[in-house]
Amino acid sequence: MENKDNDILELFANLSTQNQALKLLIERYQKPLYWQIRKIVINHDDTDDALQNTFIKVWKGLGSFNRESSLFTWLYRIATNEALMLLRKRAKENNIPYENVSYFLSNSLTSDPYFKGDEIQKKLQQAILTLPEKQRIVFNMKYFDDMSYEEMSGILETSVGGLKASYHHAVKKIEEYLLNHS
């Protein structure tokens, strides 16, 4: 992914090809970033908002991107950040403590017209929503996107050992939830 992203950065470096860089960036990352955000905020409209904010931030900051991490890592970090910021905003708008945002998300899941999963998939999503935020993000990235721990480590700035522990705990909690709610 890192080698692939060099073309975007090279196109962006030249003022005359910056628009091409943007098109390529959106084309390549629109879907993965959408799904990264969607699994955090659940609702499609909120995801759309957060995705737009993500690309705005990326577009504004790409000039100062220092290549300390890969572009992929940087984009995912911004997308995750935007998703979490949006959740905070929604909690504030609905006058609910952020700790209880999972109830809000659970309701959002139930009423989401763009949820096509069956009963067991819905139950899995509800189980995921009971997890602490970071475990939820780690679980989604590993379970659904099969992302490597090294990539996740770069995005979430957490040790590989810590991520493995988070994932392991998340799996156990979800299995327990499903067992108790079956």
Binding site: L22, L84, P132, E157, S159, G161, A165, L178, L179, S182
Partner: protein, 190 residues
Amino acid sequence: MPKEINIENNTHLKNNPFAVPNDYFMTNKEALENMLFTQADFNIPTDYFENNALFIKTLTKKAEQEDLYTTPDNYFETLSENISKRLEEMPNKQHQYKKIIFINTYVKWASIAAIITGIILLSWIYFFKEKNNIYEQPCLTIACLSKKDVIKNIDEFDASDIEDVIENTDTPPIKKQSADTLQNNLNETF
């Protein structure tokens, strides 16, 4: 109700259950491009990019506390193997464990038996002493005397009483009688 659920090998659950409106990615791509090309003045917080990772950490700070404990590399990968190894070593330990259980059970029953024996012994000593106490006390009635005692100490009695005294010594114990028998005896007497 299932006893165990394994989500990691469930391919159905791994499918993405979320959907998007028709042509969303197509139209969104255009919308994003238009938005970014046409609107140049977006306000971004100062140091947003410098602190981006920090934001995520702050936002997930509470959850972070649960991750204070990490595991050594490859801990979970080798966990099942390590458990299998330990299980192979188990038979000897199991034998030892059974022994401990036996000793513990033995001690428990021995303690209970000792307590019961102690209670019986103390009760016996107590009642035995009480009984002795009864006999140790002076009787002070004629009924407690035997004929031998009367004959031995015959000088102590008045001649007129001797016949009555002899008659009332060595009194047999009162037998348990029914109420009817007692009534009959009374009727015969009076």
